[in-house]
Amino acid sequence: MSVKKKFKGLSDKAVAWLFIGPSVFLLLAINIYPLIYAIRMSFTNFYANKIGREPEFVGLKNYIKVLNKEAIWEKMQVTANFMFWTLLLQAVIGLGLALLLNRKFKGNELLTTLIVLPMMLSPAVVGVFWTYLYNPQVGLFNYVINFFHDFGSFDMIGSSVLAPWSIVIVDTWMWTPFTMLICLAGLRSVPNYLYEAAEVDRASKWQQFIYITLPSVLPFLLLALLFRGIENFKMFDMVVELTSGGPGSATELASINLKREAFEKWKTGYSSAFAVILFVTIFGFGNVYVKVMNKIKER
């Protein structure tokens, strides 16, 4: 009775805070506080493994060091390359598969289930079993490629030319279903009367695709690519299991390098600066992208 009374006395604002309070607290504790702490650390020469050594303020030294380090730019280039090709392939193949599965045919549902299976697997497991598939002696991948054209023995993971493609192929295999599902949702939301009207206007299939299907599905596709872009920017587990960033540093993405600097070399201050730079980069790109996406939606 008294509890009821108490709640009766709460204002709408108080009830709202009661609901959002725990979320705000968790957000502050898990996201905002570590972010602020990392920013603070990025201005120091802190090493988390050097017990008893007080961190000293070093100003912008870590940021200058990160930005002037040639190796960092190489990692960023590897990351950009990986993102460009995975996003491009996932957009094209994902949209293609969505268009295919949007048609009604026997076995459609079974095929959809089979196609989405890879994205349900753990990235680390995917990385491990693709190392076997890529094995030049017993791997299925080389066998299939050589079945169509005899390239002889080639090592997808051991070659600096092929290794970047090896991670692109695996990521595309794993995550294209995600793009496909989002596009499929977009395609199914296009009203049929638009196509009927186009038929009446004698629009060809190609014109229907360009003027109806593509504009309708584009916001969905862009949203899928935004998610994939953010995920691939911080891609870690699958690549570590597959190539360990090698050969040499041919597939060492920025996130892998960051982990090595932070938790193997224990350069906490330096790696905090690197993390802040990566955060600003993805945050900046993400914002621009969302603005562009909204403009496309408005059209």
Binding site: N45, I157, T243, G246, P247, G248, R260, E264, W266
Partner: protein, 430 residues
Amino acid sequence: MILLFVSLFSFSVNSNAKSITLGWAAWDPANALQELTKEFTAETGIDVNFEFVPWPNFADRMLNELNNKGKTFDLLIGDSQWIGAGAVYGHYVKLNDFFDKEGISMNDFSPATVYAYSTWPKGSENYYALPAMGDALAWAYRKDWFDRPELNSEFKKKHGYDLGVPANWNQLHDMCSFFQGREIDGQKRYGAAINTERGSEGITMGVTAAMYAWGMEYENPNKPYDMEGFFNSPQAVEAVEFYRKLYEDCAPPGHSDAYMVANLDAYKSGQVAFQMNWYAFWPGVSKEDSDGRVSGFFANPKQNVAAATLGGQGISVVKYSDKQDLALEYIKWFARPDIQQKWWDLGGYSCHNDVLNSPSFPTSTVYAQGFLDSMGIVKDFWQEPTFVELMLPMQEAIHDYVVNGKGTAKGALDKIIEEWVEVFEADGKL
């Protein structure tokens, strides 16, 4: 009823108080230690729990635990390179007083292992571990193939000497390349499974086996941390170039990120004539070849000097443990000569002089003499507290040159020195 409850309660308290946890890598010797430790539990009533971590994650897992002052482990069998960090950052208990009290003398253990696994600063009399597992990088070869007259005569015709244990790295290359792509018993075979792993320490452990044999020094013996002209000396450059040649000419296809288990698998599956690996694996290889017909073993070949890459570990008491007394009791038991002999018999590599100097030791197994030879010529990577920071740039630069084929050997070594200077400067050593 009350009595039963009290006895159950006391049992649970007792079992908690009388147990310790030992951390090590997940490999054959760890299983042997687990077997040996049953005797310790029977003698003392102290249960020992084991946590064995796969090698690729071993350093990450254990060093994170130590850096976080974790209490998971009471005893740790840590890599030789960790001793600096263990001592300087206070992760390991200093054992001098305990050794004195219990009459454990470091003179009873092989000097190379005491130096490598126990002391910090190096060569001092400050002991932070008891030598637990002697090890060095060595080679196994397919003796049964070498014994085939037709293969031997073909090899001799080409190179002018018999197939056998290679006297130096040039001969090793001759033999490995002889088997590369050769069909034996209807299967295609390859030369050698060598270390090429990128993620942890694999390729560094492999390439240094060549670099030490060529006479590489990490630093100027008269001026510590002065590496220019030593680590990148012409001999060191030649060794790295040779290692790349060995990889290109003799490794099986796809052997671009391989270390212990991958080398072992390549050898056991009959793909290769040679494998580079730690002595720790030889009991397993030898066990499957009871009459010694298939496999032979030899120490790292010399080139300009006789040298081998050091492996192995010492056993330390973790400073953050609440059960240091029980952990020390385990060390006291493990140091006993009779236990050390059993350790060797079970497949562990004892470092105790009583075991190593026993007249029957060299013939006790087919690899025992090689182990003795190797332990006399071992060299280790930096054991500095910053060894991980020193290891990573070497892994990257060497892998980039050897496997990726990028740049030059001199360029790779120069790049490593550049990174190392930065590490030593940050550590206040330069």
